[in-house]
């Protein structure tokens, strides 16, 4: 069996709002192995944001155990989790979250700035490598405000790749993009998946599920279905059928 990257055991997360207790996650358990492309879906309020925060080590569960690449996260302190995120996780956000007025390279090398084992030149080399991997080799020194949405999201993906993470966590990564650019990004995710990367894509858009290898559906804080996708569609093929907009 392949390596287990993520292992959730009976995860619960409660929030206290005033006198009430909100159960955002109730007894969630699943395992994600290396090389999987998993979509986590659910409507708003289903607990998918909480699950994403937990998976991203931004939040710790109230109950249950979470192992990221073999490390137990639940008892870790803030700083230890920050370091863990820095080494093991690549985030891709809906709204890109690039630093303004900053070049693609500078944005991409940001995670390595918080890793003292990288020298300035090693950082730059890695950043260029990542940018080439997402097809932005010709836009290394473009500033974030000189780029289109699709390009910015590619920079963000390059930033998520730069630390060779155990898992890439994408939060509605195509949510701010038009259909064509969305497929462009999905093609990129599929390529990264084909290269053996582990990807978790959190979304409320059911279409995305067609392009991933596994599908987890959340409802009211519980896993409703967890199915392997036998018939993975190619985003590249769909992209080819889309009309090119000339404007």
């Amino acid at each position: 069996m392949t390596k287990e990257i993520i292992k959730l055991e009976h995860i619960s997360r409660d929030f206290h709002v005033g006198d009430e207790t909100v159960h955002a996650l109730r007894d969630v358990s699943f395992t994600i192995c290396e090389g999987e492309f998993v979509t986590i879906m659910g409507t708003s309020g289903s607990g998918k944001s909480t699950l994403l925060n937990t998976l991203g080590c931004l939040d710790t569960p109230t109950k249950g155990e979470y192992y990221l690449d073999g490390t137990s996260v639940r008892t870790m302190g803030k700083n230890a989790r920050a370091t863990l995120r820095n080494r093991k996780i690549g985030f891709v956000f809906q709204s890109y979250n690039l630093l303004p007025k900053t070049t693609a390279i500078e944005n991409v090398e940001l995670p390595l700035m918080y890793n003292p084992s990288y020298s300035a030149s090693a950082r730059k080399g890695k950043a260029v490598e990542s940018l080439k991997a997402v097809g932005l080799g010709d836009r290394l020194n473009h500033k974030s405000n000189q780029m289109s949405g699709g390009q910015m999201q590619r920079v963000a993906i390059a930033r998520a790749l730069v630390n060779d993470p155990a898992v890439i966590l994408a939060d509605e990564a195509t949510g701010n993009l038009d259909t064509r650019t969305s497929y462009d990004i999905l093609v990129l995710f599929q390529r990264l998946h084909a290269e053996g990367r582990t990807i978790i894509f959190v979304t409320h858009n059911p279409e995305i599920a067609h392009y991933s290898s596994r599908n987890i559906l959340l409802k009211d804080g519980r896993v409703v279905t967890d199915t392997m996708n036998e018939n993975v569609q190619s985003a590249a093929e769909v992209l080819a059928t889309l009309p090119v907009e000339n404007d």
Binding site: N79, F91, N97, M113, Y114, R159
Partner: protein, 406 residues
Amino acid sequence: MNITNLLKIALKALSNNKMRGFLTMLGIIIGVASVITMLAIGQGSKKSIQSQISEMGSNMIMIQPGGDTRGGVRQSASAMETLKLTDYESIVNETRYLSAVSPTVNSSGQLIYGANNKPSTVYGVNQDYLEIRRYSVSDGNMFTEQEIASAAKVCIVGKTVVDELFTNGENPIGKVIRFNKIPFQIIGVLTSKGYNSMGMDQDDIILAPYTTIQKRVLAITHIQGINASAIKEEYTPQAIDEIGELLRRNHKLKETDDDDFTIRSMEELSSMMTSTMNILTILLASVAGISLLVGGIGIMNIMYVSVTERTREIGLRMSIGAKGMDILAQFLIESILISVTGGVIGVLFGVSMALLVNLGLNFPIYIQPWSVILSFAVCTVTGVFFGWYPAKKAAQLDPIEAIRFE
């Protein structure tokens, strides 16, 4: 995260907002520059007053009649006749701490030479007066013991008197000038001393034997004052005590009686002037200090806005691995960079302002090294102090909320 990376990040953030950074810095620049300029002016005035007092003779002691109340009415010093020549003589003979003693009497009137005339005051003194007041004779001679004894109508004049009476540049030595119709022969000219700190022309002076003024001008037997010099400045208080006791004994004052004379020293005047200048300096510096404080609050304000504005950036940095400490350090370094850069520019600006005041307005300045170091230290501390709160706020943000902040 190492310090080089932190500096890089802070510099980058500042260069993204150059105008804002500059304006924030301006508060610190103006604050530091004004502290330095004000202190330079304050200290400069103090120094110049001190040096001019010591030019006048810092160990000088002045004894004046007065301090006497008769029936509750305090009399004016010139109306007093309590000091006699015998007092002068016993001071000369019976004290140990004085190096020079001169009686003084003076009379104001009009000086006439040829077609020129000027109002002036003639001081009746003895030879010791030159030592006490730090005068010296540049041309001719001081009057002698014998000229004093004979109440000779001779005088020594200052440079201003020469300039105003001898307008066509003739040699004043040997010439006879008239003072209140009495002819005086000029036997010497004093070396020029210029103006003193109180703006008095020290060269506008005529010295004559005290006996001459007493007998031929004023027709009095008492003296109007005694000037003396302590052996050293440190001995001034002992000298004053000694003179006080001696005069009380001479004047047969009872234990309960008040002094019928007043003894003042230059040291007193000097310390009084110095403390006045200190108050002035403190006043100037605190006004300047307030502007530095306002500059500091400016930093805090801008850092606070900056933290709010960059909440998402902070959230992002945290989610990709920045610890609270990293965020704290980033914002703290940013505010320190603003304040230290502002401090350096402020020091340069303040020093040049002080030099400009000195050159342009001819105002005495003195830039104390500690004032430069102090204001620099203060503005660094300001940067840390006012940067701390916003930076702490940034470091305590929750990455989950920060990253989705709109």
